[in-house]
């Protein structure tokens, strides 16, 4: 356990949902305090903090120093605080910065908090804010809507027949079944495939139950170097960060044959960790729509191209299956407060690897992947992050 090895020794969340009575700082403070308590560290031990948020500037008007304000609620002040904004990948991007700082031996203990408050007067305003995670000079006044981007990605698969409407419904049913077991999830109720298909249409074939909801929430992680992690490790509570990768959209990203942001990022993470997709025990991926999870099965190498529907049909990606994906319920059921999502994924993987995930526990999980995407640029995710964690 060297100084350059990085461990997660604490995670915490504020439940995702609709919290009109709570300010961003209260959501963030709760998640940060829980993560520190989980780590058994006082706020005074934190040497650097990273705060992930994407939309508060547009939705609340608070710009520039969101982290310095929010982290005070977790008892953190005076130290280095960095505000991280990277669309829906803000959370994992902030986590990545903390990993780099510890590896560089610039600090021993770092706190990362992601928080978002998206319930405002009307959802149209939240959707409009989300649509700014694209090049607004290119897309301004064009009616860009993110769920429609997922619908376009699914269009080819549906036309080819490798995916069907039933798959889109079934993967949503799975997400909701997992979410029902997660006390931090926004949607705790199960749905049938018929209920999913009968939902209000949002974009293309996607109905409301298939789409991640507007959410308020926060999630946090405490990272530390090897020497600091020894005590937690002795208690079986340290999870090692084996890979931390961040990428952006390639030039002419939409061209045929160009590997996607997610593909390039995850391949780099597998290489860094020295593990392949077949060695993963549990995956959290960025299913901003539940059917988007089906596209990620192929991007993450969990199945061959065109085999995502089959993987789902076999039950492989449900808890109890060969490679459970989104046991937390994913973005669709857990909720998607965008700046918090990447850290909620990390928290879920940490709980899974420690065996603390309760009714949604993946038995014997030793290796987990968290994959987070953000924004849209030239036809692909503008940002992508991937982390491999091991017990």
């Amino acid at each position: 356990m060297s100084a350059r090895d990085v461990y997660v020794i604490g995670v915490g969340m504020h439940p995702f949902g609709r919290h009109p009575q709570l300010a961003l700082r209260e959501l963030a403070g709760e998640a940060g305090r829980r993560a520190l308590r989980d780590a058994g560290l006082s706020p005074a031990r934190v040497q650097a903090a990273y705060f992930a948020n994407a939309l508060a500037g547009l939705l609340t008007g608070q710009e520039s120093i969101r982290g310095q304000i929010a982290l005070r609620e977790a008892g953190v002040g005076g130290i280095a605080v960095v505000n991280v904004e990277n669309a829906c990948a803000s959370g994992a991007t902030a986590f990545h910065q903390a990993v780099l700082a510890i590896r560089a031996e610039a600090c021993d203990v770092a706190l990362v908090v992601g928080a978002e408050k998206m319930f405002v007067d009307d959802t149209g305003r939240a959707l409009a804010a989300l649509a700014t995670a694209a090049d607004v000079e290119v897309t301004r006044d064009m009616g860009l809507q993110f769920m429609a981007i997922y619908a376009m990605r699914l269009q080819r698969k549906l036309a080819e027949g490798t995916l069907s409407l039933q798959h889109l419904a079934d993967v949503t049913v799975k997400s909701r079944r997992h979410g029902a077991l997660n006390p931090y999830a926004q949607h705790r109720g199960e749905l049938t495939a018929d209920q999913v298909l009968a939902g209000k249409p949002i974009a293309g074939p996607l109905t409301r139950p298939m789409c991640s909801p507007i959410s308020d929430g926060a999630a946090a992680a405490v990272l530390c170097s090897g020497p600091v992690a020894r005590q937690a490790a002795a208690l079986g509570r340290a999870v090692r960060v084996r890979a931390s990768q961040l990428r952006s959209a390639a030039f002419r990203a939409a061209d045929d044959g160009q590997p996607s942001t997610a593909v390039r990022c995850v391949r780099a993470a597998y290489e860094e960790a020295g593990v392949g997709p077949s060695e993963l025990d549990v995956v959290e991926c960025h299913d901003a729509t539940a059917p988007g999870e089906l596209l990620y099965y192929e991007d993450l190498g969990l199945c061959a191209e065109g085999a995502a529907g089959k993987l789902l049909d076999e039950g492989a990606t449900a808890v109890g299956g060969r490679i459970p994906v989104n046991p937390s319920g994913g973005l669709t059921a857990r909720g998607h407060p965008v700046g918090a999502t990447g850290l909620a994924q990390i928290a879920e993987i940490v709980w899974q690897l420690r065996g603390e995930a309760g009714a949604r526990q993946v038995a014997g999980a030793m290796v987990g992947l968290a994959q987070n995407s953000g924004g849209w640029l030239e036809g692909d995710s503008a940002a992508g992050a991937a982390h491999v964690l091991t017990r």
Partner: protein, 95 residues
């Protein structure tokens, strides 16, 4: 790179739940211009229904607002079948 007014629809989706300022339903799409680049744009000149357009369809540029009070933006509309014949048939054959 000089760009022309023609391309082919690569993907599209009907938006049923619109951001503020837009009224659903409407269609957005990705258009592969004949010169190569792929661009995002609203699809106009056809009913806002799933079956109104299909991938591979020839489309042409029109400039105008995509929402009431919006600025003029590049949009694409289906090329009528007669106008879609000619040079575009070669393009389709080379894919």
């Amino acid at each position: 790179m000089p760009l022309g007014r023609r391309g082919r629809l690569q993907a599209s989706a009907v938006v049923h739940h619109a951001p503020t300022g837009f009224s659903a339903p409407y269609i957005i799409g990705l258009v592969a211009l004949d010169e190569g680049p792929i661009v995002f744009a609203p699809i106009t000149g056809c009913p806002p229904e799933e079956r109104a357009v299909r991938p591979g369809q020839a489309v042409e540029l029109v400039i105008g607002p995509a929402r009431p009070g919006g600025v003029a933006v590049p949009q694409f509309r289906p090329v009528p079948p007669a106008a879609g014949a000619g040079p575009h048939q070669e393009g389709a054959g080379s894919e």
